[in-house]
């Protein structure tokens, strides 16, 4: 083994040091060694020299051989041969596929305008700047979005709120910005970590290696866990606040109430670096612990004690997650939680919540290439018509629900083409999946780029393109540190990397925007290098930034990065004191007055709530008591499992040995009441539809709450309809809703709905949901 070079020989294999990011994968990007013979992957190991994961791997990467060498992978471009849904395909060469797409794009642009083309991708994948660039620069459409993600409810509410409140991203400090990690002298271990609305050891969300929390626990960090479900971390916590799903805002406001009224906040920091504290102070008076306790179901004493514990122990950090976004008040919950680390002065200090720029700032994500969309067209971005955050440019995507409505109604204009790059909305990302299915089938022309033949591709694609997996592409991982190389090591059949596909197509559609001959040249440009070669490309500002302001690797080329594996940018704490956050290089945060906006003036100007508030989920025991009589259980969903990343990994035998079936967790008392035993198949039903999962009894939930899994389809079943890989049979998104968003357009209540549960019998299972949806028009209710 060698650290000097990125490739060497061992045991008759070539070993290559790289980074694994999707697909298949997760939000991380762990250091990995691939052992290959020719173009075949033999085995993988964690890269012990990479400080990010220090040699560790989860079972998904350990099992990569089953993914990479899977016989069912897509191998070459396919053109639909039968009707949509028949799963009949004709193999075509890449050029023919590109010809068809080019012709369609050009004619749709001419006849309906570029805005009629929607570019979509799945979450956290290695296409977060590539698909935006194709959409904006290639299609010249303003409509880049995630695959029908309702309320953009995955990090985007938190991101938009952070953009308005102080303009940067905060992350829990696990010394991840230092090559020397925990040994770094200036680093401090957080005394307390609040785990809010996620189970990071399994989910690894937003570039955060969850087991860093274990590292810190072993170094003495104490935990407060805020989760409706007892997670393993919650079982080890000093405080587990078992809140009712969708009440995070009320809980955070009440903790602020305790911290402010007991004078436990950092007065100096508040005075110097925040604006609107008095207004926040007044507002939190509406949430004393006894009121919040009624709303959240968390005992009053627990709220008080946990708030004190957090405020009195410094440094402390809050590791937040997806549940914050998945409520109508997602923005509000994010604002309240940000206020917690702000007023306690845990801002950008060692062991607190630190401001992170993604690896040398080279990754500007969802806005990549937006300058290629004309001003007029940009105004047509779907969602702008209804939501000021979108209209005034604080958001980087079209609004998923507005896209759905445009397809359904043809208003404000018709949608003519969907570009779906590694997203499988009917299996995973789209809530109200049967509705999304109908909508996608209505669109004239759809292209799916993916790793396997998915239910989405069978149901609606006209062209299917095979994407390379992580070790089949040159790319990089920047969120958040270090900047890591992803190297192409093998070629699988005719697969192409996502970068290559976008570049090939971009050159045909809008050559001026794609001047690079190779992917490597494109990566150089992304790194801020090769300025002399592409003076024109560099004249175009990038996400509103000119070349000088754009991130760059200070001359490190892709090849050099590949050799070195990763590079760390310089790191400084308390950047706001040092003039490192603002364009004018003055101290302060990157807001108009340089302060963190506890009171959101911009929201106020737009007629939105400028301060955090609680709003009942639209379907809750209190907001919909009649509905609650018929559907007397609170349904939460989307908790992760070790084996799968969303809808991925279901075709790997090893994963299915560990986790063969979709599981719904029910409290044993509730199960007894319903006559359900562990392992029984049960129907879960909401007012919109039903699905079938297997009961797992555990006292980890309030008996009034059940927790169902998401992302289930069955690659082992036939793909042709009416089976369609059984995609609707166990699909929790038959029960969830689209178009129930917060006042900002952000947030969706998908972790807090109402349902009922009953045992599966032969009699009540005559028609399976996939049959119901694909052949019988769905579940028959009014779609709002």
């Amino acid at each position: 083994m060698s650290n000097e070079t990125w490739q060497w020989q061992e045991d008759g294999c070539t070993v290559s040091r790289s980074t694994q990011w999707s697909g298949p994968g997760c939000h991380n990007g762990c250091g990995i060694l691939y052992y290959t013979k020719g173009d075949k992957l033999i085995k993988v190991e964690g890269d012990a020299t990479n400080p990010y994961n220090a040699g560790r791997l989860c079972m998904r990467c350990l099992n990569l051989t089953e993914a990479v060498n899977h016989p069912d992978r897509l191998k070459w471009p396919l053109k639909r041969a039968g009707n949509r849904g028949e799963n009949k395909w004709e193999r075509i060469p890449w050029d023919e596929a590109y010809d068809i797409i080019e012709e369609k794009v050009k004619s749709i642009k001419k006849d309906y305008g570029p805005e009629s083309i929607i570019g979509m991708e799945g979450t956290g994948r290695n296409i977060i700047w590539q698909v935006p660039y194709l959409t904006y620069a290639g299609f010249e459409s303003p409509n880049y979005t995630l695959g029908f993600l309702s309320g953009d409810a995955c990090y985007l509410p938190r991101a938009a709120q952070q953009a308005v409140m102080q303009s940067d991203f905060f992350v829990t400090d696990c010394a991840q910005h230092f090559e020397t990690r925990y040994e770094t002298p200036e680093y401090e271990v957080p005394k307390v970590i609040i785990i809010w609305g996620n189970n990071p050891i399994i989910s690894n969300g937003d570039g955060f290696f969850g087991h860093w929390i274990i590292d810190l626990m072993r170094k003495g960090s104490k935990l407060i866990v805020i989760d409706p479900k007892l997670t393993w971390l919650a079982s080890k916590a000093d405080f587990w606040l078992q809140l009712r799903p969708g009440t995070d805002s009320a809980l955070a406001m009440s903790m602020l109430n305790v911290i402010i009224n007991e004078s436990l906040y950092d007065k100096e920091f508040v005075e110097k670096w925040t604006a609107g504290f008095e207004k926040l102070k007044e507002c939190v008076q509406e949430y004393p612990p006894e009121i919040a306790s009624e709303i959240t179901w968390v005992p009053k004493e627990m709220i008080i004690e946990a708030a004190r514990f957090y405020a009195k122990n410094k440094p402390a950090a809050i590791q937040w997650g997806l549940a914050v976004d998945q409520q109508v008040t997602g923005i509000s919950a994010a604002q309240a939680i940000t206020s917690l680390w702000t007023i306690t002065g845990n801002v950008d200090v060692p062991g607190g919540n630190v401001i992170s720029k993604s690896g040398f700032n080279v990754d500007d994500g969802y806005n990549c290439g937006i300058e290629w969309v004309s001003e007029d067209t940009l105004q047509k971005r779907l969602g702008n018509e209804s939501y000021p955050l979108k209209m005034y440019g604080f958001a980087s995507t079209a609004h998923g629900d507005s896209v759905l409505k445009a397809i359904e109604s043809g208003k404000p204009y018709p949608v003519k083409m969907l570009w779906l790059q590694t997203t499988n909305p009917i299996a995973n990302m789209g809530s109200e999946a049967p509705r999304v299915y109908d909508a996608m089938r209505k669109v004239d022309f759809n292209v799916v780029v993916d790793l396997f033949m998915t239910p989405t591709a069978v149901a609606c694609a006209d062209i299917v393109l095979p994407a390379g997996m992580s070790l089949e592409r040159d790319s990089f991982r920047a969120w958040f540190a270090p900047l890591r190389a992803i190297s192409k090591i093998i070629q699988y059949e005719e697969c192409k990397s996502d970068e290559q596909i976008v570049l090939d197509l971009g050159k045909r559609l809008n050559p001026a925007a794609f001047p690079w001959k190779t992917v490597e040249e494109w990566l150089e440009w992304k790194f801020g290098n090769a300025k002399d070669h592409y003076p024109d490309a560099f004249q175009i500002p990038w996400s509103g930034k000119t070349y000088r302001e754009r991130g760059n690797t200070r001359g490190v080329t892709f090849k050099e990065l590949q050799e070195r594996g990763w590079i760390y940018a310089d790191w400084q704490y308390r950047k706001y004191e040092k003039g490192l956050l603002r364009r004018d290089r003055q101290p302060g945060f990157n807001t108009a007055d340089g302060k963190i906006q506890l009171f959101n003036t911009l929201f106020d100007d737009w007629g939105l709530n400028p301060l955090p508030y609680h709003e009942e989920p639209p379907e809750s025991p209190y907001s919909a008591p009649e509905l609650y009589k018929e559907y007397p259980l609170i349904l939460t969903s989307g908790a992760r499992s070790w084996e799968f990343f969303h809808s991925e990994h279901r075709q790997q035998p090893t994963m299915r040995i560990f986790h063969p079936d979709p599981l719904v967790t029910i409290h044993p008392d509730k199960a007894k009441e319903l006559g359900i035993k562990d392992g029984d198949w049960v129907w879960l039903e909401s007012k919109r539809g039903r699905c079938k999962q297997k009961a797992k009894l555990a006292a980890t939930l309030n008996p009034k709450v059940v927790s169902a899994e998401h992302g289930w389809w069955f690659p082992e079943k036939p793909g042709a309809e009416p089976i369609l890989f059984g995609v609707f049979d166990s699909n929790i998104n038959n029960l969830t809703a689209q178009c129930q968003n917060g006042e900002t357009g952000y947030g969706a209540p998908n972790k807090g709905l109402l349902c009922k549960i009953y045992k599966v019998t032969e009699e009540n299972s005559q028609v399976m949901p996939t049959m119901q949806v694909t052949k019988m028009g769905g579940f028959g209710y009014d779609r709002k």
């Binding site: 791997l57 087991h211 084996e643």
Partner: protein, 117 residues
């Protein structure tokens, strides 16, 4: 068993207090030993989650090597750590001479020392 063997015996020390039940050791081992489906060189047992009479939660995972574990003989010879040790996400496993490990065993509670071979 010769005295020689006894004095050079190696083992696995596991700080099971922090085992998260992530299955990485199980899969790492399957791959290393090239085991057929549903065969394991190490298994992770689970107790709980269970509320104790004191009102605290017990939720403990305990990994233990099976009869198939050879302490990664080949890897160790090649100068590497056993695969489960290297990949454990919580980094709670240590491989080494039993004598050394038994000293470490005394350093904190909730540890276990295995001597599979």
């Amino acid at each position: 068993m010769t005295e020689n063997k006894a004095s050079s015996r190696n083992g696995l020390l596991i700080d099971y207090e922090f085992c998260t039940g992530c299955h990485s050791c199980e899969v790492a081992c399957m791959k290393e030993l090239k085991l057929p489906p549903e065969q394991y060189g190490i298994r992770v047992l689970e107790d709980g989650p269970r509320k104790t009479p004191k009102g605290k939660w017990d939720w403990t995972y305990l990994p233990f090597p099976t009869s198939l574990c050879d302490l990664c003989e080949d890897r160790v010879k090649a100068g590497k750590k056993p695969s489960c040790v290297q990949h454990c996400q919580a980094a709670i496993m240590t491989y080494g001479p039993v004598e050394e490990l038994s000293k470490k065993l005394a350093e904190k509670p909730k540890m276990v020392l295995f001597t599979p071979v």
